[in-house]
Amino acid sequence: MTLLIGSLQLGFIYGMLALGIYISFRILNIPDLTADGSFTLGLAVSAVLTLAGHPLLGILLAIVAGAAAGTVTGLLQTKLEIHPILAGIITMSSLYSINLYVLGSRSNLSLIGSDTLFTQIAWLPVSKEILKTLVPFAFCFLCAVVLIWFFKTHLGLCIRATGNNEEMVKASSINVDAMKILAVAISNACIGLAGAVLAQYQGYADISSGIGIMVVGLASAIIGEAIFGRRSLTIGLLSAIFGSLIYRFIIAAALKSSIFPAYMLRVVSAVIVVIALAVPVVKKHLELHNMRKKVELDA
């Protein structure tokens, strides 16, 4: 039971990360490595402001900070025509310094004893575990609703078309560069938000929290897709969150039964992603193999 509740709590937090990754990877069709930096940035901003006594402001500013990081990557990609992956790496690595600066040149920051969003609503007549589930759920729910609405607006359609057929977007009098920048900004705003909630949930911020986080988000988004398929955008966004819940549960169960030690987490995430991405290729080879076999039987 604690296993289930624990994975629900983390699942909703990392669900917002999965939403962010889904936007860049699936909607915009660009793997964006800014995630590793913007996640920690959200974490740091939220932690510092919580320590100063403004937990809610911390969350809001973390969203803004994530969006700003995304905007930088977007500008590098479009205005300076730097390769999208390289643009992400450049922002990510410079964010390492920025994050240290935000944390006051400390590599970690403890929030023990300070007021967080979780302690602020402790007066609610529910158990502590439910409280710890409620906050992540509320943020994740809000985030999903806003995104689902946004991608139904004219701007949202423009972004989706940009990831789908750039030529057509230009011909429809839409500014491709602006759409890309906006999409990467929104993606990283979600990722920053995930980091911000995590900081207050776990009660500390660590400079290395974001390492490999992009693969974690990717694994969640892909697991969701494997279950629900690629149907509509709304289902896609919801399946990313669901994928995050499943992912957390798998990881928690595996850690509990000590199938692998905790430090192997990133390897497992990477393997999940590779397997999921390999499925279509394996399917294709199997089909070709079966085709050949049939022909050989006929002959």
Partner: protein, 265 residues
């Protein structure tokens, strides 16, 4: 309507491979004119379209659209008033989005409010009406993903998308060349309908001289970046394919080396 003066485009300028694709082209289109554009490969037809559409800038010259100088205007800004259609039917629409979403993008191209609903129920009525005119049964499949349509259907949709916002100028770059003959004929018929119905000023590139002379109101022949022939009205009515070819061999130093153009008449 459209005024092009001294348009010059040089590719790879300053290198041994320098190529003058447009050589001081001066051209004026009146509102509602339907110009067909012919010429052999490398004559500068597509270069002219790209210059008007804003894919690249001219080295020299000026382009005025509705009296406004658009010579250095960004491509996507020109697209608000210029509809373009390409040979490749896959180029004009987004495959993972539905028919109505694609149409909505094209329809709201001049919309200022980005946060309004993308596919408005009021607009869908217009889409259904418009797409019914294509007579392809697509009006009942507005929520189908465009990737599932055939090449002909996709090109018909692209045509609708590039004209639904009533552009000032429509550029058709061999938009039926990649389709099978039946689909090509159908798209051509739809093109004529839409252009005459909405009185859109249109330029169409074609390799088929017969089509060029039969369609529209004016025919221009390009050769080596220059206008070789520009006929309209009576002169055009009396023009035949063989006379046109004769004219070409007299005027042009290079022989007509384009098989497609020779074979298609």
């Amino acid at each position: 309507m459209l005024e092009i003066s001294n348009a010059t485009k040089i590719f790879l300028a300053g290198t041994p491979n320098e190529h003058v694709a447009l050589d001081k082209v001066t051209l004026s289109l009146a509102k509602g004119e339907f110009v067909t554009l012919i010429g052999s490969n490398g004559a500068g037809k597509s270069t002219l379209f790209n210059a008007i559409g804003g894919t690249f800038w001219l080295n020299r010259g000026k382009i005025l659209l509705q009296g406004e100088n658009i010579t250095y205007l960004a491509e996507h800004k020109r697209a608000a008033r210029i509809g373009r259609l390409f040979q490749d039917p896959l180029k004009g629409s987004a495959p993972d989005m539905t028919i109505e979403e694609n149409l909505a993008l094209a329809y709201n191209r001049r919309s200022r409010n980005g946060l309004r609903l993308g596919v408005h129920p009021k607009d869908v009525k217009v889409f259904r009406e418009k797409i019914a005119q294509l007579d392809m049964g697509l009006e009942d499949r507005l929520r189908t993903k465009v990737g599932l349509l055939s090449g002909g259907q996709r090109q018909a949709l692209s045509l609708l998308m590039s004209t639904i916002a009533k552009p000032a100028l429509l550029l058709l770059d061999e938009h039926t060349a990649a389709l099978d003959p039946a689909a090509a004929e159908k798209i051509m018929a739809i093109t004529k309908d839409i252009v005459s119905q909405d009185q859109i000023t249109t330029m169409m590139i074609t390799h088929n001289i017969q089509t060029a002379l039969k369609t529209g109101t004016r025919t221009i022949m390009l050769d080596q970046g220059k206008i070789l022939l520009d006929i309209a009205g009576k002169a055009r009515e009396e023009m035949t394919v063989s006379r046109l070819l004769e004219h070409f061999s007299q005027q042009s130093q290079n022989t007509l080396d384009d098989d497609r153009m020779l074979l298609s008449h």
